[in-house]
Amino acid sequence: MIPARNHVTSHGLRKFTALLGLTLAAGLAASTAGAVDPSRIVDADKSPADWLTYHGSYKSYHYSALDQINADNIRNLQVAWTHVPGRSTRGLQSMPLAADGVLYYSGSYSRLFALDGATGEVLWTHFPELNEDLIATQTHSPYNRGIALGHGKVFVGTVDGRLIAVDMKTGEPAWDTKLIDSEKLTVGFTGAPLLVKDTVIIGAQGGEWPSRGPIFGVDAATGKKKWEFFTVAGTEEAKATWGNESWRTGGGGGWMPGTYDPETNAVWWGTANPAPLYDWAGDKWQKEGPRPGLNLYTSSVIALDPDTGKLKFFHQELPHDAWDFDSAVGEFLNIDRNGRKLMVHPNKSGFIFVYDRSNAEIANVWRLVQNINFVKDIDPKTGELIGRRDMAAGKHSNLCPAIPGGISWNTGAYNPNSGLYYKVGQEWCMDLEVVKTTPIVEPQIQLNIGANFQLRDPEGGKAHGHVSGRDPVTGEKKWEVNFTEPPLASLLTTGGNLLFVPDARGYLRALNATTGQEVWKHNNGVGHNGGIISYSAKGKQYVAVETGWGSLVGDEYAALFGEPYKSMPKDSGALVVFALPDQPK
């Protein structure tokens, strides 16, 4: 039995009795409007009052059709209420969800909260008891990046390798399933789960941790594992792409939630990078080095059958990734254009890949950022890397982008009214020395980087970021706004023709979605590194944003940009909810 603060702790009959009551309660709850049947997620466009899944809907738009708040009245927008979750180590990094007027979100240590969406009043909390000794050994600790709703439950992963379900009406535990031996493999789950029909899908951390980066399908009703897909050598075909049995320490993973295409019954997921990050074999990587070969299915987009976990099709965005520019970004925008059904996916390298939604064949590839030299280009017709910069052991100067990538893990947004895709780009480079290393797998796995490095300004300019509005298929730029430091939070666009940009310094900014002109800002007092949504409660529109600073990318800012990041706390965060003032009665 996995311990939890409000878990059933007795044995035998008491446990059975408690579960009986709990399950019957869950069964009754499932018959109410608040249960979130999976069909509601498929039809999320029809219920703009809610935000039922991480990406807003399976279309991954991060768009709310609500338009009470718009460019004409946003000057009146003000804080409606705030919730402070406590113990916000490395800030809040999750995506709140909203259903039927209730707001649900997770904080660090996978703490769960259900709040009245209109007042912020706490309805219930659930604080799972985690393996704190294990957390002390984890580099990615102990933030949590979100939850899933469905079948009357709230689902959340934990950094000690568990997937937990609680009743969404009461917060009482429903099931608690250990999926990963995190005590051995060090990594667990930080990313949000994705509910698809009767299955909860969640991907493990991995990347530079030398394991096999599994993605799991779990029965939403019982918590029983249905399937497990290894992003490293998940098929015999893939195993042949890892020379010298290097798949055993391959890395991989899928640490951000992808999406689901109901038309093809395919779950699209982005996978993480192989280990070590940098390959001392240089241009001899096909035959030599720590992981000779293509290293399937790392740095790839994969399409899985949600019922069986079987691979349907895939595209490896970076064959033999030697730069840590993985595909783990979870956005998969459904865009229909000229009779073609497309899927748009950002890669960490700063390139945006556009796929045929039926088979992941390349439809286009375009650049979001300017400072790219790890390849000369990527063929927009085939996706082939042109002019790879493979770096052998030794010193190398001015690799662009730097290790945090041209694109980070938080999401962009697409507004179907403006037809624009909004995305943060990051402009920075680094010097590095590639070093031959040996993976550490006993007694506990440790990360395998294979280099020392230092971030630097791009040649001829300063490191910076930008938010642009572009055609999602061609990349044609309509407008761009520069930021002295790249914003690291997710974006939100609305039916009020607004784009919300939570920036790194602490300002929540609203831009005109058509022009990029700033129309409002509010200082939340600490940087943003998490999610933002809009929802409606009691007929009123709200915008909820998470604050709090500190992440593997944000931690770079103190050395790179100085203040306010040198003094910015990394142990605080809050959920701040905005609304227009009530009309005088």
């Binding site: 797998v441 980087i449 770079e556």
Partner: protein, 123 residues
Amino acid sequence: MSPSMVPDRRMACWTAAVFLTVALAGQALAEAQPTTDEKTKTEQAEVPVNGEVLFATSCGWCHQQGGRAAGRGPKLAGSKRDDDFILNRIKRGKQGAMPSFEHSFNDEQIHAILAYIRALPAQ
């Protein structure tokens, strides 16, 4: 479930909940076990006791330029901290900032990392 659910579907839901209870109870009464593929366990290649290599394996992620510059973590070259402090910090870490490495590195390896840090020129 839909709010317009008809009564016979409610009964079906109730019945399903009873079956579900049995299934859940059976699961909860069994101890949860890790199920990740055992094939991930592999013979460890000999990890050299070489502070420079160990640093580039797991430390250079945060302490940039091999510890010569600040990054996610502080600059280590020329550190005024005494040996006991550095050894203890590598073993125990710092909550929310640096992981503990006592389960990954043995004492000999940790001392090799310390020797590497001490050999860095204090620029």
